[in-house]
């Protein structure tokens, strides 16, 4: 098979969720040669994952997933109808500060020089380290929602959802409708939703409908007598797989035998590419996550690079669309397709749409501060899933004087495994900050190196449009296993 390398593109968009789709569609409408690269086979991102095929299904899955999910179809259809080029199943393994993208497609790699880049790589579930969280049978709640959207799969064995955030109730509601054996929800948030909701109502201008939706999920779960418990200090118990979850409630430890434990305490920006780029990042104390610093158009500290959607800060799918459109307007202006006046005029309704989302998001941030996934870890809890480094291992190293985050990474191997720190970055930072008595902003984040996605050395060596003046490091024989890193 042969992949056609795109040598150049005017605007590269990375990620096919709502922000990327909205950005690519509008940019193309404004005459920009826009190319959207996405890792998935179909557009929609994680929130609208597989929405085209799901909406064609004859069963009740589209109904179970709800109107918000089905609403993503219009966004995908508008993108499909636009002149934007689409490169699905493309892993982006590098983005340089000069706008050069490394693309891996169907087993081949190539480089694309873009004049401007919009990163729309979205969010990931906040890693939730508890004792036993690496056992088979423990998954993210979002992971199971992905299985439902992508393949119509639902759990068929007893399932407990634990954590906090609106998604736990949405997933619980969706699973319950689909007939999954949902045993209980263990809510780790500080205060009951309903009390906070009424206190917040006066400040939710225009977004009370969103709140109402959340309350209807909870009412439906209550009607089906799904136990909703408050719990802290979760432990996934089991030897070769999860057998039970235990937690503290009312001053004593309770235990629920279960087959599937779904963990979730919100989502955080995916900053893999932006940290490898050395964009300026800030610690967001309200969302308890690192985020790349961006201006009102999503532009970063690096000239050709902008960010749209949850990759810049968690604002949700409904805000991702106007954020994508703002980044596209700015790109079209910088690339000479529209004047500043037109950009600003077209931006006004997008900013108004964002403002409508703002109060509700602040309310969610206050209500669902992660508590359980950021409490001090027991020494035996695994911080780094890849290299199986525990919080206790880290504390020993810190006490031995390894007090810089990246030094700690080198010596502990945390962040040096296959996931490249995606799952442990914040946890290691937290353990370090606790031990030093300082904050996350002070300890910083990992320095990441290319490639940001693993690819066989063979693909790099056979790079389709490599600089012919550079000397190969090794003589290369295609398919030779000894030449794999």
């Amino acid at each position: 098979m042969t992949v056609k390398a795109r040598e150049t593109c005017e605007l590269a968009i990375v990620g096919g969720g709502p922000a990327g789709l909205a950005a690519a569609t509008l940019a193309a409408e404004l005459g920009v040669e826009a190319v959207l690269f996405d890792e998935q086979p179909t557009p929609g991102g994680q929130v609208y994952r597989n929405v085209e095929a799901t909406c064609r299904r004859q069963d009740d899955l589209p109904a179970f997933l709800g109107a918000d999910y089905r609403g993503g179809l219009a966004l995908v259809e508008r993108f499909r109808a636009s002149a934007a080029a689409y490169e699905p199943m493309s892993a982006i393994w590098q983005v340089t500060a000069g706008g050069k993208l490394g693309v891996s497609q169907r087993g081949e790699a190539y480089l694309t020089q873009a004049r401007r880049v919009i990163l729309a790589t979205g969010a990931m579930e906040r890693p939730f380290p508890i004792p036993g969280w690496t056992l088979p049978g423990v998954m993210g709640a979002g992971a199971v929602q992905t299985l439902m959207k992508a393949s119509g799969l639902v759990p068929d064995r007893p399932t407990v959802i634990a954590g906090s955030g609106p998604l736990i109730y949405l997933v619980a509601y969706q699973l319950m409708q689909a007939g999954a054996p949902l045993q209980a929800i263990v809510d780790t948030s500080a205060q009951p939703l309903i009390r906070s909701a009424f206190a917040a109502l006066p400040h939710l201008s225009g977004a009370a409908g969103e709140l109402f939706k959340g309350l209807t999920w909870i009412a439906a779960l209550k009607a089906k007598r799904i136990p909703m418990l408050a719990g802290r200090n979760l432990v996934a118990e089991g030897t070769s797989r999860v057998e039970a979850v235990s937690f503290e409630a009312d001053g004593r430890r309770q235990r629920l035998a279960t087959s599937l434990l779904l963990l979730h305490e919100g989502v955080i920006p995916n900053i893999q590419i932006t940290t490898s780029l050395r964009c300026r990042h800030e610690w967001d104390p309200a969302q308890m996550a690192w985020r790349p610093a961006t201006d009102e158009w999503g532009a970063t500290s690096l000239d050709p690079i902008a960010i749209a959607g949850d990759g810049a800060a968690i604002r949700g799918a409904k805000a991702a669309v106007p954020l994508g459109r703002l980044a596209a307007l700015d790109a079209a202006c910088r690339l000479g397709h529209i004047a500043e006046g037109e950009r600003d005029e077209r931006a006004a309704p997008e900013r108004a749409a964002l403002a409508r989302q703002h109060n509700f998001r602040s309310f969610l941030d206050r209500l669902y501060r992660p508590i359980e996934s950021v409490r001090p870890l027991d020494d035996a809890t695994i911080a780094c899933r890849c290299e199986e480094v525990t919080a206790g291992d880290l504390r020993e190293l810190i006490d031995d004087g390894f007090t810089d985050l990246n030094q700690l990474k080198s010596f502990s191997r945390c962040g040096m495994g296959q996931c490249q720190g995606r799952m442990c970055s914040n946890t290691v930072g937290r353990v370090l900050a606790e031990r030093l008595g300082t904050g996350m902003a002070e300890v910083g984040h990992y320095r990441l190196r290319l490639p940001v996605k693993p690819l066989p050395i063979e693909q790099l060596a056979l790079l389709k449009n490599a600089d012919r003046n550079s000397k190969p490091i090794l003589p290369v024989v295609a398919g030779d296993p000894s030449q794999r890193i």
Binding site: Q40, E125, G137, L147, G152, V154, P155, R385, C386
Partner: protein, 98 residues
């Protein structure tokens, strides 16, 4: 541990070791394995512990398997292709000579 909401005729078959795994159009390798009741995708290189996919969106790397002789493939990101040969990845994995 998972069931399909809609039981269509399989559109493809892949193999996990010797086990034939029926797949539906659009399945990732990870989804097809989970639907067939597979829990053990790999063992870790450090302690040899069993792992199953955790995130399903390409971040956790706990779904690593060997696909058609190539190790380190993220099962949650690879769509199924009829006849694909998948093996659990033991430790750092093997790499077949073609």
């Amino acid at each position: 541990m998972f069931r399909r909401l809609q039981a269509d005729a399989p559109s493809a078959t892949i193999f996990f070791g010797d086990q034939a795994i029926p797949c539906q159009a659009g399945d990732s390798v990870a989804a097809a394995l989970l639907a067939a009741g597979i829990e053990r995708f790999r063992s870790t290189p450090v302690s040899g512990a069993d792992r199953m996919p955790y995130c399903m969106i390409g971040n956790c790397f706990d779904c690593l398997v060997e696909i058609d002789g190539q190790a380190d493939r993220q099962a949650c990101l690879v769509p199924v292709v009829d006849g694909m040969r998948v093996r659990p990845q033991e430790g750092t994995g093997r790499f077949d000579t073609p």
